[in-house]
Amino acid sequence: MRPNIHVKSKVAVVGAGLTLFRRRMLETPRELAWEAASMALESAGLTLKDIDCVVIGTAPDAFDGVHLNGEYLADGAGGINRPTVRVYVGGGTGVFVPIAAWWHVASGLCRTVLAVAEEKMSPGHPHPQGVFAYIWDPVLERPLGPNLIWIFALEMRRYMHKCGARKEDIALVSVKNKANALGHPAAQAAARITVEDVLNSEVLVWPVNRLDISPVSDGAAALVLASENEARRITDSPVWVEGVGFTLDNTHWYNRELGYPRYVQYAARMAYKMAGIERPWREIDVAEPYDPFDYKELHHIEGLMLARPCEAPKLLKEGHFNRDGDLPTSPSGGLLGVGNPIAAAGVMKVAELFWQLRYEAGARQVKKPVHRGVAQAWGDLMQAGTVIVLGN
């Protein structure tokens, strides 16, 4: 970390845990949070007594169907009788949770933080998609009967037009990520598929087909973050948080250039500046860009400045982003392969960097030596970018 920001202490990730990601879990949100939190503590060799503060993240309460969902699952997340906050920036929450945990520690307020994200998408019937109806403007947009996929279809079409990308170029992301997920023990949608499978899956909202989209999932993920002094006591291989960034773009998503994610670029610049990174396309060894849809990974790779605008589809085709490539992206399998319990999916991405940077990712370990990784998520009204840079 460059001394361009004053912190009381450097911050490290020292433990991570993850539940299975599945379409419908028996466990309550509280039980899922407990499972992930316990695993994260155990992996750091700590117990809850060693934790000063707790940060919880979940996306809209309406998915779990419990208002004040953060408070509801606080005892599972270990948040009772200690300083606890819940943070929320929609889909960006997953990466915002470790960012919030970072400032808890960097400020000197807490020495150790348990950061837990949970999402249970299965309670809402007939489909959790119904929850998204309330993000639309009730006067101008809702009378058209929109759903969330409309946004992605419009954005994907714009990206294809601007960059000259074809459906089959974009489908490669789904092929890569679902195959990467075959090595992930928590994965819900791991598969060996072909570009033809994606193109032949049913068209939902053109140009989006079923296999372009991540699944609906239940799950939880957790991290333990600690100050430098604590981290060096806890482990020989702490993974340092080198930079964090977050940005909110304008609320009217269709009033901006949809072909390029400005919200990611601004957040990434903030994080890179803090990490002292000037040429991210060279200095980042492994990336976990947010991939709820396959084109979104390409979009976000460009926003993270890991490729020039419109260059990502070409590099993808050349194998640049494969697990054995020059800059592996979503080696975990991403949301497309592992699953998408919204907030937990973002923490899963940060956990993957943690394992990659400790060379603990097993079958998923990328081929090249790794020193630095970046994870990113995106949310709110298609406007929030959250970015974290980790290094070993």
Partner: protein, 149 residues
């Protein structure tokens, strides 16, 4: 009548909206499943954490470990109570309903439930009355009410 009980929507300029999630389906969870089975058998469970039993049997003990499920036998006592005179939709109840926090002597915590008694007071000893076995569904409604012991 209060303003919200009238049909204001027909008189004001408005945009109609509809809840698209029609219902929620909550899974019971690991401990919740056991509790549901016990209610069907006419038992109330608690979670044993060390020497203390907690009711209801939420998954976690204060030390962040799952507790051991055990039956709570009572006797139960009224901790506090209220009397419902009017419902949400403004209907006066002919027979006011008593809602109480009841706590078993052998456990911490307690339940909120109906109490049917001519007279209620704090500290009153009560016991659960279950539905007939064939009608039980494994929900908290399997307990009809608590009655004086």
């Amino acid at each position: 009548m209060s303003w919200w009980k009238e049909n204001v929507a027909s008189r004001i300029r408005h945009y109609p909206g509809k809840m698209e999630v029609e219902k929620y389906v909550y899974t019971p969870g690991v401990h919740g499943l056991e509790q549901a089975k016990a209610l069907k058998e006419g038992k109330i469970l608690g979670a044993k954490c060390g020497d203390t039993i907690y009711v209801p049997p939420l998954t976690l003990c204060p030390d962040h470990k799952p507790g051991e499920l055990v039956e709570v036998r009572g006797p139960w006592r009224v901790v506090t109570y209220t009397i419902i005179a009017e419902t949400m939709d403004g209907r006066r109840l002919e027979k006011p309903e008593v809602i109480a926090v009841v706590k078993p002597d052998d456990a911490e915590g307690g339940l909120i439930h109906r109490v049917e008694a001519d007279q209620v007071y704090i500290g009153m000893e009560v016991e659960p009355v279950f539905k007939p076995e064939a009608e039980r569904k494994g929900t908290i409604d399997d307990i009809l009410y608590f009655k004086p012991k």
